[in-house]
Every structure is written in C-alpha cells, then in structure tokens.
Symmetry: C2
Subunit: 214 residues, 2 copies
Amino acid sequence: MVVKVYGAAYASPKRVLVCLVEKEVDFETIPIDLFKGEHKHPEFLKLQPFGTVPLIQDGDYTLYESRAIIRYYAEKYKSQGTALLGKTIEERGLVEQWLEVEAHNFHPPLNNLVLHILFASALGFPSDPKVIQESEEKLGKVLDIYEERLSKSKYLAGDFFSLADLSHLPFTQYMVTLLGKEYLIKDRKHVSAWWNDISNRPSWKKVLEFGTPF
Amino acid sequence: MVVKVYGAAYASPKRVLVCLVEKEVDFETIPIDLFKGEHKHPEFLKLQPFGTVPLIQDGDYTLYESRAIIRYYAEKYKSQGTALLGKTIEERGLVEQWLEVEAHNFHPPLNNLVLHILFASALGFPSDPKVIQESEEKLGKVLDIYEERLSKSKYLAGDFFSLADLSHLPFTQYMVTLLGKEYLIKDRKHVSAWWNDISNRPSWKKVLEFGTPF
C-alpha cells in the first residue's frame, strides 16, 4: 500500500516526505494548488476540514497536520529506516520538547518572513516591512538559543538526528535560499554546522526534487 | 521522587498538572511570578532558555513545553492511571493530530483573547478591539469544525478521552469563565456536551484548586 501525500510542492508537506524517505516508506504525491484555492474545495475539506496541507491517506487511514503525521510514521516504522524518536522515553521527551520549540518559537517568525517576503503579492496582501523586521529579530534571538544548545549536543534533542531536526528542514531551506537570510545561519558556528549536516542528508536532497510552488 | 512543576498558577502548566493527576503521579509546585518577571531571571533561564512556563524537574531530568511534557508522562506511565494516547498506533496518530489542531488552530485565537481581554493592562500594552473581534470570529469557525467532529465521536481523537481533549482544558476554562465567552461553547450542542464531560473530570476539578494568577 502506497501512502498518498497531498500538497508535496509546499513546505509543511515536505516534513512528511523527508520522514517517509528516512523511514523507507513508499509514497506518491497528489498535487494541490493553494493559489487556485484547491485546499478549499468541498472534496478536500471532507478530508481536511481546516483546509490546509499536508494530508495523507494510507489505505483507509487519513491523517493531517505535518508534525502529527511524522510522529505517526516514526512510531509505526520504529525499527525500519532511521530511528527518529531517540532510544529511550527520556530521549523521546527531548525530541518532543524540541519539536514544540520548532512549532512555537522557531516557526512563527519564520513563517511571517515567508508570508511577507515570498507570498504577499501572490496572496494579495501588502508586505509589511515592520513585520519583516520584527520577525527577523525574533528569529535571531531564537537561533541564539539554538547556538547555545548546539554547542553542547550535535543535534537538538541530543547526539542523535531526530524528528526535532527534521521538522526544521523545509522552512529553513526557504530561509537560506528564497528569503536571502542565510546570514542567520552562517553567523552562528554551531547552527551552521548543524544545518550543513541535516540539509546534506540524502533524504532531504531527494525531497528537494519535488520543487517549490512557484 | 516527586515531580517539580514550575508556574502552576498559569494556564499552560495546568496541562501538565491535569496530566499528572490523571496518571496518578505525585508532584509539587514551584511558584513563578510572570508579572514580576521571575521567568526571565538568570537561574530560571538556565533551565528554560526561552523563559516560559511550564518547566518540570524529575530527578535530574528537566523538560519544558507543556505539550511535550504531557506526551512524556503519558508514555512513561502508559499502564498507570488513565490511558491518554489511545490503544493503537492509529489512535495515537489521531491524538497527535488533534493535539496539533489544539496548538495551531484553537489556541492562537483564544490566546489572543486571553492576552487582550485579561492581561493587556497587567502587561502594559493596549487592548485591541479589532484583534478581539477577529480572534473571536476565528475561534468560532474552529469550534464549528469541532462541532462536526464531536457529532461523530465522543472525544476529539475518537471515543476515548486523550491528551488531545486534556490539552484544551486550561484555556477553555478561561474562555467560559474569565473571558465571558461561554456562548462559544453553549451555542454548539456537541461541543457543549464534550466540555461538560471533560471539565467535570475529578482531575480537572482538583487542578482548579491551584488557582489563577490574578
């Protein structure tokens, strides 16, 4: 049974793709064009009532929210492919902690930058320089804490690659390429080494082949 | 060994408290006064560099982010107290999905209401009526989707109480009491039955004894 992943061109669904590649799980991608509003079509809303991607279908099992889906596959295929949850309950706790940090501290300012620098004109709202400046400052402060953390362990949750690192890949990729904010990484020695490591994983290079939405 | 929970008077740490009560785990609470800036003291920042509550210490294990901590204890004491992760990997997947919905769809507009209605003057910023109105509308739309979901299953992730429901308790309590927005619940039959059920659990009644920060 091949897993169907909706919306592969976008960033959040790429969390799911890179997880599936790491776990050696076969999948196919179903395109969804957010700019044409396909995520608001009644047929899609039946599967994902909040109208966002990603969404997966695995036989008759349907799941949404990228960070829920990656936890599901990391657990389901625990002993297949790369272990992504640590080895002990305490390690998993730290994976969960840093997944939450990614979601609540790292992602919001970066998502603001993505929206206001990349998507504003396509989505028809004015790009706000104040939001851009404040978000960039906020993100810098978060990355200062990452720098301190990564001076003590190779990866965020410890000396093992995990979902916590993986979850940063898609939006950080935007940050260093399309947003032109590579300095946020390069100026921090340990963050830079970490990014260099995780973004060079074969799984991520493979996922980049699925392209961007523009 | 008794678990230490920092910041029990506030809403997010109450996710942890109610989880520990459900899991029959002993704990003690360490007060942190956010209005006095105690979460920004160097000693606290050593343990929680982002300067937020909750934080737990369990022997020499330290963990932060409420939704990470509740996952940790639900897993660590899997067969003690109430099962909070479902019985199968697929059920856990749905628990994760609705935990993410709580974090990314339900919480942000409700948190805006809490900040602008309850905390604005104490935190020294102006309460913005536009933010209040937009957040209330957004929350209403999210709860419409909950109404549909809860017409099909007793709890969010299925016919079993889980972390996904539990995670809604502290801020929904604010919503129906201090914010005066009980109508958002009462106007929706299935949401109302669900709230009535989960907020009457003995665990939650016990946690309410820890009070609010004002």
